[in-house]
Amino acid sequence: MSNYKYLILRRITQISLLVLYFGANAYGWNVVSGTISNSLILGTVPLSDPFALLQMFSAGAVLSLNILLGAGLIVLLYGVIGGRAFCSWVCPVNMVTDSANWLRRKLYMEKIERKIWVSRNLRYYMIVLALIVSFITGTTAFETISPITILNRGVIFGFGAGVGLLVAIFIFDLFVLKNGWCGHICPLGGVHSIIGKYSLFRVKHNSESCTLCMKCKEICPEVQVLDMIGKRSEFVVMQECTNCGRCVDVCDDDSLGFTIRNYIKNNQEVTNENVN
């Protein structure tokens, strides 16, 4: 059971958030109201999607103090603590793409499929493109197609034809490209990668106890961040790591775990090595 600790915790957070959002509309609960684009915590604290804010700015909207504050809180929260945790702990589409990945492993897709290569930097270009399209059309371009808000709103206000996009993403991730949406295309994931670049909460690898079973690399949705496995004992510092904790879950050798990134200690280690 310990193999699923963080997975279960993540599902609990994701689902209870959806329940709270739903209850805010259906029963007038006051814990988390609004949608994932802009929420109100306990009826007072605003939280806004910084990417939506950027698109609004690009489209030519006058930004209110309220959403500037809301987006600032999000940047602070993930920037200092959580890193890209939004993607694996909050975003509801994560459940769709994770289930596609699960089925992918059951069907041995990795061994059979014809591989398509797509750059994982595509998401950063998508950010730029979204802002350009927002500027030209005077709309929030990504928000008009975002499966994240479609799923979130669907749970709160009822699904419409937008559910087709979620099915499409599931099938795309399952049969076309591994981690296609979350790991390659989604610009919101890109934004959260950038926000969380210097965050403190990180996975740390201990290469001494590692037996090179590679289970972590099999399960990781952003494999490139685990390039130190079995080689160097260090923090997973690449910004694309979503802190999902699946690598920690599957590791039987106790070689991976969450810790607070220590900038000062790192420097000391470096100087010690130099002395030796």
């Binding site: 509309n25 605003p46 806004s48 030209i136 709309t139 709103r153 034809a161 937008g162």
Partner: protein, 283 residues
Amino acid sequence: MKKEIKKIQITPRRRFLTGVAQGTGLGLMGGLLWTGYASKAKGSALTLRPPASLVEDDFLRSCIKCGLCVEACFNRESNRDKETLKHKSATLKMAKAEDDIAIGTPYFVPIDVPCYMCEDIPCVPVCPTGALDESLVTNEKGKLDFTMMDMGIAVVDSNSCIAFWGIQCDACYRACPLLDEAIKLEYGRNDRTGKHAFLKPVIEMDICTGCGLCEKACVTEKPAIFVQPRELALGKPGDHYVKGWDKKDQKRVAGQTGKDMTTHAKRSDQKVADYLNEEISYE
């Protein structure tokens, strides 16, 4: 003769430029599709927005699609069914992908649920972005004023309105929350029968808020009175014309004195005698 084989050197510069070209191609293709979709996804100009919303273009820029207005509309105390105490379906709805309305934005359809013009206007102050602008429904005393709402304007189709046929019906007049202010009854003689009267509904343009209670109340199979966005339903006389013996309208054009009000055409440069003596060509 030895055939010369031309060797193509693949330099880092060529690699870089090709990469840029590939990226540009992909970006252009995707960007064009996305721009095309996004501009169409703005949806119909007939959309009715919540009270105090900015003009449609600015509204679409500013709405963050959080749904707080829709939640406030649904959860207001006045939306409870008096017997079951359960919430009824709300006026405001969130647009879905299949609606001809920008996805995730709030709207209402009066024929389904009209706006009941709550005195405390719960949907407006909750807006975090100012897409619903509280100042548009705040009066000089600094209080929320529901008579300042402006979602659209009611339009009467006088061909299908049975009051215009001479049948006595004042359903819309009675349903109007601004009774005898937004809709007035105009009395007239029915010349067709020679005996009866007309009681025709007339919309007061400046007072009607576009709440749609009249549309909901209308008795004809398809409502003969219906709400449309103002930009769509109304014309604009412009500064060339002034309503005579009307001080208010004279004020409207008072500031326009500096402007050149003359119509300029090709003929304007000629003298009258010149163009009167010209041969007229109708081709």
